[in-house]
């Protein structure tokens, strides 16, 4: 099964690293396949940034998303640009304090998290992307938590690993309680594992 994910926001929010961690978890630690492509503006920070990630139990051919199963948006601009193209029954994750959600089909599962504020409370705003990854990990069963943690260890500098693990767990806890609160149906495309345990 193919799962299409897009991460989008501003340059500097760690969009690409977030997508990289999820892709690495799928491709290296879960025994699946992942294809990650990216697009960004000429600016190092502040411009639009977007990453497209496909994960599957089979080799991936077409390298771009066509209709996202999961959309993660960290800016209003990204929401406006990409929300209309996502799957009407997909999962939408938004940065609660940066994105106002409107005009969506009622069938989209929307979950929000104040990732930037949570990251600041942990001591460093830059880990907001890892908070988001933890949140995503709890809301979906595509990849095991262990695989995420392995990917995280393989992606961040050793000195910052502890902070990143705390950021992941923070997001993960928020995700679990959001799941319970919203009573996410069992039979949604996003809550089913894409492939079995490695």
């Amino acid at each position: 099964m193919l799962t299409e994910i897009r991460f989008a926001g501003f340059g500097g929010q760690g969009i690409l690293l977030a997508a990289n961690i999820v892709g690495k978890a799928a491709a290296l630690f879960q025994g699946g396949h992942a294809t990650l492509t990216q697009s960004y503006g000429p600016e190092a920070r502040g411009g639009a940034s977007s990453a497209q990630l496909l994960i599957s139990d089979e080799p991936i051919l077409y390298p771009y998303t066509t209709q996202e199963d999961i959309l993660v948006v960290l800016s209003q601009e990204a929401f406006a640009k990409f929300a209309p193209g996502m799957k009407p029954t997909g999962l939408l994750i938004v940065e609660e304090e940066l994105v106002r959600v409107s005009d969506l089909p009622p069938t989209v599962h929307v979950f929000s998290i104040p990732a930037t504020r949570l990251a600041e409370e942990l001591g460093k705003r830059v880990v907001l992307n890892v908070v988001i990854v933890g949140f995503l990990a709890a809301l979906t069963h595509i990849i095991t938590k262990e695989a995420y943690l392995e990917a995280l260890k393989a992606s961040v500098p050793k000195a910052l690993l502890d902070l990143n693990l705390r950021a992941f767990e923070k997001g993960y806890a928020c995700g679990l309680s959001a799941r319970q609160r919203e009573a996410l149906p069992e039979e949604t495309a996003v809550s089913e594992p894409a492939w079995s345990e490695p």
Binding site: N20, G23, K24, L28, H33, L36, L61, Y62
Partner: protein, 385 residues
């Protein structure tokens, strides 16, 4: 011989095509790169600049592409395996020195990560518009070897191939990547060093008095000697004889330039890498390369779901053009469909070879993205009729 273990990043990685290409170059023995960094190829030299000191290599950021593409050849004659990395606008500037490498039989690798052109075009977006430039960009008669990867894994594998063939044929070899493959991140498996076959430079064992630097062996390729090895030789872009001395006559020109072309042309079949599948009973075969081959594969599946008999022929070797394989397929199908991220380049090569045997239809795209699979499907459906 096996690769140098200290340069091989053995393991399973999640790398983009650019980084994988650099790791391939390091595994293949590249210890010098000169470049003038340009999007979307920058990550290759960025990686090389950070990795080179670990393996005793050198990266120089030159003042421009002309300087980069000739500095790399100086390094070759000084004994290093060398490459440069660029994209379309820089590749245009390097053309003079592609010809120089062909004429002086300097084994070297040019990596071109293609983006939309002409001119500055689309710096951050893919195209396949340099296919013919890679073949014909420099003046005069010469041949190049060019390979086209469609995944980060192949960026690693084929970069090694490029370096090995550069040595075997003493010729410039071009890796024709594109922005999509260069910036795409996937799983890349790097094998242990002892499983990577690296071709050493074919140095002469003749004594200085007996060695003629441009006297070909049986495979039409001369043996090399490095500057400072004690041999007297002269490297020039002027037409030269077997001693390397200027020989500005039509006879010397004929002898030299024919050999330069023949050493590649006569090896075309050994140099042919293709992926062929489902062509035996096909009505239509899609001939594609690079990132477009992955988009084409989806279109082929869609066509098969409709009951059409469709095969694929993916060109991994672009130059010398795999004529025999394309002709063999053309003999048994109605139509060859050639999607590419340009307004028609390799389609004319396919048409030249398939002429009179099968119909050839191009599916063009000016670059900046990849084809919609539906557009390739439409050409397949029409071609099957």
């Amino acid at each position: 011989m096996p690769a140098d273990p200290k340069a091989v990043l053995t393991g399973v990685h999640f790398l983009n095509g650019d980084v994988a290409c650099c790791e391939g170059a390091l595994a293949a023995g590249a210890r010098f790169a000169a470049g003038y960094p340009i999007t979307p190829s920058t990550e290759i030299v960025e990686r090389f600049a950070s990795r080179a000191p670990e393996v005793g290599g050198v990266f120089i950021q030159m003042e421009d592409e002309l300087a980069a593409s000739i500095a790399l050849q100086g390094a070759v004659w000084g004994g290093a395996k060398s490459f440069t990395v660029t994209s379309g606008p820089g590749f245009s500037l390097m053309m003079e020195h592609v010809g120089y490498a062909a004429m002086t039989e300097t084994p070297c690798v040019f990596v071109d990560v293609q983006r939309g052109g002409p001119s500055t075009g689309l710096p951050t977006l893919p195209a396949q518009g340099d296919m013919m430039q890679a073949r014909w960009g420099s003046h005069g008669d010469y041949e190049v070897i060019a390979l086209c990867p469609n995944s980060p894994q192949e960026c690693f594998d084929l970069t090694i191939k490029c370096f090995n063939w550069a040595e075997d044929y003493r010729n410039p070899v071009v890796l024709l990547m594109d922005e999509c493959v260069g910036h795409m991140t996937e799983k890349v498996v790097i094998p242990p060093a002892e499983q990577i076959d690296v071709t050493p430079r074919h140095l002469t064992d003749k004594r200085p008095g007996d060695y003629l630097p441009f006297k070909p062996c049986d495979n039409l390729v001369p043996e090399m000697a490095h500057a400072g090895d004690g041999y007297r030789f002269h490297i020039t872009g002027v037409t030269h004889d077997e001693r390397g001395y200027l020989a500005v006559t039509s006879q010397a020109q004929d002898k030299l330039v024919r050999r330069l072309c023949d050493k590649i042309r006569s090896a075309a079949d050994q140099l042919t890498l293709v992926e062929e599948e489902g062509t035996e009973d096909a009505d239509v075969v899609v001939v594609s390369y690079g990132i477009t081959s992955r988009v084409a594969e989806r279109a082929i599946r869609m066509a098969r779901e409709r009951g059409l008999k469709v095969g694929k022929l993916r060109l991994i070797t672009i130059w010398p053009f795999p004529e025999n394989r394309v002709r063999a397929v053309a003999r048994r199908v109605k139509t060859l469909v050639v999607p590419e991220l340009n307004l028609g380049q390799m389609v004319y090569e396919v048409e030249r070879v398939a002429g009179g045997l099968a119909r050839t239809v191009g599916v063009t795209h000016a670059g900046g993205g990849v084809h919609r699979p539906e557009d390739i499907l439409a050409a397949i459906v029409e071609g099957a009729q």
